[in-house]
Amino acid sequence: MQASPLAHHFENLEKQAHAARLGMWLFLATEILLFTVLFAAYALYRFLFPEAFALSSRALETWVGFVNTIVLVTSSLTVATGLHSATRGDGRKTALWFGISVLLAVVFLVLKAYEYNHHFHTGQLPGRFYTYEGVKAPGAPMYFTLYFLITGLHAIHVIVGMTVLVVIGALARKGRYTAAYHVPVELGALYWHLVDLIWIFVFPLIYLI
């Protein structure tokens, strides 16, 4: 970036950073509400079919969700560490930490794929495709409809977040950001933390209760 990162319609970089952060938080709020619709559907059907949801939840392999929670929480730490490096103007370290975070995200997705594969083999599928013999209660197909919607939408967010981390990590490595200006690093980190935040609620709702 040859020119200053300051856009002409802002008085100074600090105000620009404030505006960027506010915009990002508005976007994150819409993301939260997007997931809330699915959580509300989950709450409704869990209220209507409590036994089927409890039994279906127990039919999942809880350890996968547990390990994935640890993986995502740790990736949030590595992203935060990358932001810390950016505030010191160390773009190479930012790239390194973001790279580690992307690897952790790959671990997350591999475990998720293993799980999806298992569901396809046992017939734990949404609606009329449900052929699982283990749980035969009304409402069980609905559990797996919501399971795939929630974890699927979350997985899409993981992939988007990985893309963001790769791009910003690469730019940081090129030295685009300085200790004075690293707002994109900060906003990318915010997005990743949101992906983690959503999973923190998905884990108990899907796997534990």
Binding site: F39, P138, L205
Partner: protein, 135 residues
């Protein structure tokens, strides 16, 4: 890059975040293990959900406050986040309140307290009962 920047906020915001990050990370790991262990105990009824959601909210608060810097950044960000939480509570709360106060027949067959569907065979609830359409 010669833009003179007010460094005071950045300096104050980012002075030594690493200890906080590490502390939050450890707390998140501990809470994850706790919620996993509690789930294995199978608490009765609504307690399992209540405890699991309480721990999840604690973890979420740690992430939002410290990883996402709502704790140390001033401005409208907090207001935006809190407003979104209000709407989360509204949507989920009202949907549940609606269904909890319905006449049983208004809920889908196979659910708690609902009667069998019109035209359906009178048999104990089996798989796919709720998928049956009315003729």
């Amino acid at each position: 890059m010669a833009e003179p920047v007010a460094h005071d906020e950045h300096a104050a915001t980012h002075r030594s975040h690493m200890p906080v990050y590490l502390g939050v990370w450890v707390a998140l790991l501990v809470l994850t293990v706790v919620t996993y262990a509690v789930a294995k105990v199978h608490l009765p009824g609504a307690w399992a959900v209540a405890v699991a959601l309480l721990i999840a909210s604690l973890k979420g608060a740690l992430v939002a406050l410290f990883f996402m810097h709502l704790w140390d950044q001033r401005g409208a960000n907090r207001l935006v986040f809190l407003t979104s939480l209000v709407f989360v509570a509204l949507l989920i709360g009202l949907v549940i309140a609606d269904n909890a106060t319905r006449f049983p027949l208004a809920n889908p067959p196979g659910t708690r307290g609902a009667l069998p569907a019109e035209g359906s065979v009178r048999e104990p609830p089996a798989a796919n009962v709720q998928q049956r359409n009315r003729p």
